[in-house]
Symmetry: C2
Subunit: 319 residues, 2 copies
């Protein structure tokens, strides 16, 4: 089952994940500074902000100001997260600057859907049916199905691969009903339940069912397994990963106030580089941006690599 | 090359690694408290202290008081680290309480040997020849060869598998000359250069050369790769790992003041458990000891798992 890719596509979500959870307030100018610095490292996809309820997520009350403020670098795709019609409209106001991709967001755990969205799974399916139609009707093609808690859930425990398959089938049914063509499944380890063995099992079963679908992994480092999980994903041939510079972010679920956020972008890049997999990213430049991220949030971030420095830097010194 | 073990032997080095590097001072009573708590978790090997130069390592000036103070739990092996005759004598004073294993400690990087020991490789071989004879003459059988910087070095850059093989051959020559029988090679990623691919390559080449030798890995998490590296080791059938509770320790080498220490014991145990590999450790109890370690050192430790809690705890809640 080893199928090492030549190239991996990294979707940097540090600004969005980080600034939604930092107690802050973080000045808008610093958010812009981080986004612009990330774009200089060779990253091609940056999730720059979140168009969510500003009362629930005050850290993104300045989403519009951030998007207006940053200078877009040619060749870099910037996105903003949205979950409903209001968020979509706020994103569409920046359609010349942001890439707007439609998505169907589901959860493999009904327990999590209830806790996080206060909906049953079937109520969530109905909401996503409407949301998919709305996106399509506004000229935003829905091309992606996201599955949260795909590897386990703090509220429901283990999640079987069959449950993930069934959730993806629900998503494909919504896509069919709403005239959407899906080209990507994104599987999220929202609460840090994945292990390499579980990654292999779930990816293996999803691949068997849909051999030609593009897959993406969104891995949280809640229990320290994220790099090992990414390594398992790479060996399974998964070519797209979400990550956050410095490991920005955290886990707002189930009483884990000090829990880690996403896999660190720079550790993912190091892993890929040392396996001969191209990411397009200048790791030394990225490490500097990780240090900038630490300055901006004002506390140490989970990334070990930004504190240790790259291997390349030591190789140059030793040569 | 996959050869998953049924059981893994964990050598807990948290007290030794942690208290040698914490700015402290840490009260002797707290060191004892941690050692005793670790022994209650099902760990069978605990490196309790370091008999090193107390001027260079003031954190272990109280090594004797610690060993005198802790109550040994039957079935648990306690050790103390020593590098020279003086350290050996200090350890031998506690031969009824400590297990005293002889060792030949080498480094695959001459650059590191010079920086760390102020010796050339051949001067170090000569010192180790004397040290091996001394240990044997004092009734301490030398059974282990340790190789530091086996995966790379901040001072010398990449280390080839051939260099590791050659260093092991040097060690075996010393063993033969001094009448020692080696049963274990311990390979240390002292400065965090290992990646899963490198683990596979080095272990593969060492195995090919010495198919029947027991292997042990000592993995530092300097660049966030330790869990992924342990996973690679497990898949290669390596059954013994050093680790530290909470990720106690750090990296005193080459200007990495905030760099992480060893792989966290509890993350290693989680990884093993989720792969169906027995460790004998009660993970929930160990997580509590990780939290105790944080209290004792007075700052957040690198372990993500002690902040997030085990999967078992959430499984019980969800059931």
């Amino acid at each position: 089952m080893t199928d090492l890719p030549n190239h991996v596509e990294i979707h940097e979500e540090g600004p969005r994940e980080g600034f939604q959870i930092e107690p802050g307030p973080i000045p808008t100018a610093n958010k812009i500074k981080l986004i612009e610095a990330l774009a200089e490292t060779g990253l091609h996809h940056i999730q720059a902000c979140s168009f969510v309820n500003t009362r629930l997520v005050p850290g993104w009350a300045d989403a519009e100001a951030v998007v207006e403020g940053f200078k877009a670098r040619p060749g870099v795709e910037y996105t903003g997260l949205f979950f409903n019609g209001n968020g979509l409209d706020r994103a569409l106001a920046f359609k010349d600057k942001l890439a707007i991709h439609g998505s169907i967001s589901l959860t493999a755990s009904e327990g999590f859907t209830r806790k996080n969205l206060n909906r049953s799974h079937s109520e969530n399916l109905e909401a996503m049916r409407k949301h998919s139609s709305l996106q399509q009707s506004k000229g935003v093609p829905v091309t992606r199905i996201g599955v949260m808690a795909a590897f386990g859930c703090n509220y429901q425990g283990d999640i079987s691969p069959a449950q993930v398959i069934s959730t993806l089938e629900d998503g494909l049914a919504i896509a069919a009903e709403t005239g959407a063509t899906i080209s990507l499944f994104s599987l999220a380890d929202t609460m840090g339940w994945a292990t390499p063995a579980r990654i292999e099992r779930v990816i293996g079963e999803v691949r068997t069912r849909w051999p030609d679908m593009n897959l993406s992994l969104h891995l949280h480092d809640t229990r320290g397994m994220a790099v090992a999980n990414a390594h398992a994903g790479l060996k399974m041939g998964v070519t797209r990963y979400d990550s956050t510079v410095g490991g920005l972010g955290g886990c707002p679920f189930a009483g884990q106030p000090k829990a880690a956020g996403n896999i660190c972008t720079e550790e993912l890049v190091l892993l890929c580089e040392e396996m001969g997999i191209d990411t397009g990213v200048d790791l030394d430049a990225l490490i500097e941006v990780g240090r900038l991220a630490e300055e901006i949030v004002g506390h140490q971030l989970p990334s070990e690599l930004i504190h240790a420095g790259s291997l390349a830097a030591f190789r140059r010194k030793a040569a």
